[in-house]
């Protein structure tokens, strides 16, 4: 199956769940249909996500708010193609992702989505420079931009160009998170996922990182999906999804 075709597929399916005025006639880029995720911790059955249906549209800035253990991260990973649901269907541009091969899924993770994690998740044996370029190494087809030049631009834009030959554990948390963002967006993803991106940062650098994410959303129309347990941070997004015990709730308490 041709992936480019999949990604550029024009709307063939009528959108039945309007989420906002401007999306009424729009087609969701990701659609979760009755998704559940169950896993086992030893003998204990954990229902991390239960019967969740969400539509995500182009250019959205969504926060997923929930307490620790509420299943919010699992939900994000399901949307971000890192996790396979136990039941239910996920459609990416109307295509059922359960029908995709590992290679196709990997290609989507490589080009279509980007991830920013609470603990940065940089590879410590590689320099900042190598970490940022890592996604370009897994691109299977030709890259239509100069990866080095792009990396340089991003580093300069984030004010950490002088750190490019440092190893991640030699720079500050805020700098590490910038590197992680640069790595997440070097392939120009359509959707950027952020899992508690400020969780390991102090009160000064945290908002700075959020500002960077928001500027990406504004400048490049990148869809942002951010997981947080802080109401204040969640409020910055255009739309909030509340989750409790693996289920979507109307209001967050």
């Amino acid at each position: 199956m041709n992936l480019t075709l999949l990604l550029s597929e024009k709307s063939a399916r009528k959108n039945s769940s309007p989420m906002g005025k401007n999306q009424k006639n729009q087609q969701p880029i990701i659609k979760l249909e009755n998704i559940s995720k169950i896993y086992y911790l030893g003998d204990e059955k954990v229902k991390a996500v239960q019967n969740v249906s969400i539509d995500i549209f182009k250019k959205e800035y969504i926060s997923i708010l929930g307490a620790s253990g509420s299943g919010k991260s699992t939900l994000m990973y399901l949307i971000g193609l890192l996790e396979i649901p136990t039941s239910g269907n996920i459609y990416l541009n109307n295509k059922d992702i359960s029908k995709l091969s590992d290679k196709q899924l990997s290609e989507l993770r490589n080009e279509y989505v980007g991830f920013v994690f609470q603990s940065f998740n940089l590879i410590n044996k590689f320099t900042v420079w190598e970490n940022i370029l890592l996604p370009t190494k897994y691109r299977k087809s030709k890259i239509n931009f100069n990866p080095e030049k792009k990396a340089e631009e991003l580093l300069k834009q984030f004010g950490i160009y002088d750190r490019k030959d440092f190893f991640p554990n030699k720079i500050s948390g805020g700098q590490q998170q910038r590197v992680a963002i640069a790595r997440a967006i070097i392939m120009n993803p359509k959707i950027l996922f952020a899992d508690e991106p400020t969780g390991n940062l102090d009160s000064k650098t945290g908002p700075e990182i959020l500002t960077i994410l928001e500027s990406l959303h504004k400048k490049f129309d990148t869809t942002i999906i951010m997981v947080t347990h802080e109401k204040e941070i969640a409020k910055r997004a255009e739309k909030q999804i509340y989750i409790k015990d693996g289920k979507l709730v109307k209001k967050y308490l």
């Binding site: 890192l82 996790e83 290679k103 990997s106 980007g114 998740n121 044996k125 190598e130 997440a184």
Partner: protein, 404 residues
């Protein structure tokens, strides 16, 4: 561009990992190194031994038939199946056998040989060599050429003269210059012999270290039983070889049973020697391979540890677009490079050892050994690396990334 990019990243990652775990990398490679070292060395020594023996027989010349005690080189016993019967317990040939064999019209040469390993003295010099009691016909039969002096003659044999014709190595050991040996006396087991000739180098280590004397002169102290270990038969016409062989067998069967002697052509001996050494070499290599397997298990062990250690890294890579195959290739590449690196070290070390012992023993490293070293270490890398690599590849991205 795509593959080049991927490959360079693969190698880059591999070496970054090795650099971070230098001690572990070296120790793991050491296992394979020792394995390859032992296999290559065993092959080299086995081949050396084979070549050494081959040389010995090839130097005897072609139209040659050898009568041995025992049935080591029997056609039916080929491959050393009756090795136990061996030389020991075989026939002790004597002058009567020689007389009988001389009745074969096609046999142009019938040469008895009594052979004894002994200390040979000349003045204050002393060396271990051999005394061969034989007839004057040995020299033309084996195509011996003189460096100095003369051969002994039929009359020397009949008159039991104490004259000796020395191999070149023996002459040089005792007198440095073979010319100077002529006329000098050597002593072997209280028997004194006068040196009348020195033979050109034959390439046969034993022959070159032998004092050839008239066989009748050895009767007594050196050869009290008046027996011969070997009788050489030769023909001037190659077509007669089979006839001579058959007739010799018939004659000897009158005195000995069929298992106590063998009549063999040189080519048969060579093929038997080859067969024996192919088996011996295979056994040696099989034993050496055990250490290769142990080395491989070492690699597998380390690769499993590495996969666990780098689970989070695997998760991160998967999250940014690495396929299962990318991860598999990464770990497989590391296992193979580790293994081949060890193999290379083992090969280098083995070459140095072979180079060092070459002065005393004709050990050889051949293409087979080199191919084997690389082939086997690659296969071991793949075989023992694929299980850990598959475990790495099968990890789901998120499980891996959450791994602490």
């Amino acid at each position: 561009m795509k593959t080049k990019n991927g490959l360079s990243h693969l190698l880059n990652t591999t070496f970054a990992n090795f650099k971070r775990n230098k001690a572990r990398t070296i120790l793991t490679s050491l296992g394979i190194m020792i394995g390859v070292l032992s296999v290559v060395l065993l092959i080299a020594l086995g081949l050396g031994l084979k070549n050494y023996l081959k040389e010995q027989f090839e130097n005897l010349g072609s139209n040659l038939i050898i009568v041995f005690p025992g049935n080591v080189f029997n056609e039916e016993g080929g491959g050393g199946a009756n090795f136990g019967a061996g030389f020991a317990g075989g026939a002790n040939f004597d002058e009567k056998d020689v007389q009988n064999l001389k009745k074969i019209p096609e046999a142009d040469y019938v040469v008895p040989a009594f052979f004894k390993s002994i200390t040979i003295e000349a003045g204050s010099e002393k060396t271990s060599g051999y005394v061969q009691g034989t007839s004057e016909k040995l020299f033309p039969l084996l195509n011996n050429q003189l460096v100095a002096g003369r051969f002994f003659t039929k009359s020397d044999v009949q008159r039991k003269t104490k004259n000796a014709v020395l191999g070149l190595t023996l002459a040089e050991t005792l007198f440095i210059n073979p010319e100077r040996a002529i006329g000098k006396t050597i002593k072997a087991s209280d028997q004194r012999f006068k040196i009348i000739g020195v033979i050109e180098k034959t390439g046969d280590r034993e022959m070159d270290n032998t004092a050839n004397v008239p066989y009748k002169s050895t009767f007594g102290k050196l050869n009290p039983d008046k027996t011969f270990f070997t009788i050489y038969l030769g023909t001037n016409n190659e077509e007669n070889i089979t006839t001579v062989k058959e007739k010799a067998k018939k004659i000897l069967l009158k005195r000995y049973d069929k298992d106590s002697f063998s009549v063999t052509e040189q080519t048969e001996i060579l093929s038997t020697v080859n067969q024996i050494f192919t088996i011996v070499n295979s056994i040696l290599v099989a034993i050496g391979s055990i250490s290769l397997i142990v080395g491989g298990i070492g690699i597998m062990n380390i690769m499993y540890a590495t996969v666990t250690e780098r689970t989070k890294e695997i998760g991160i890579r998967r999250a940014i677009g690495a396929t299962q195959k990318d991860i598999l290739n990464q770990f497989l590449a590391e296992a193979v490079i580790l293994s081949v690196f060890g193999g290379l070290l083992g090969l280098i070390l083995a070459s140095l050892i072979v180079l060092a012992i070459r002065t005393v023993f004709p050990a050889t490293i051949n293409l087979l050994a080199v191919t084997l070293a690389f082939g086997v270490s690659t296969i071991i890398g793949v075989f023992f690396g694929v299980f850990p690599a598959r475990r790495a590849a099968k990890l789901t991205p998120i499980e891996a990334i959450r791994f602490q």
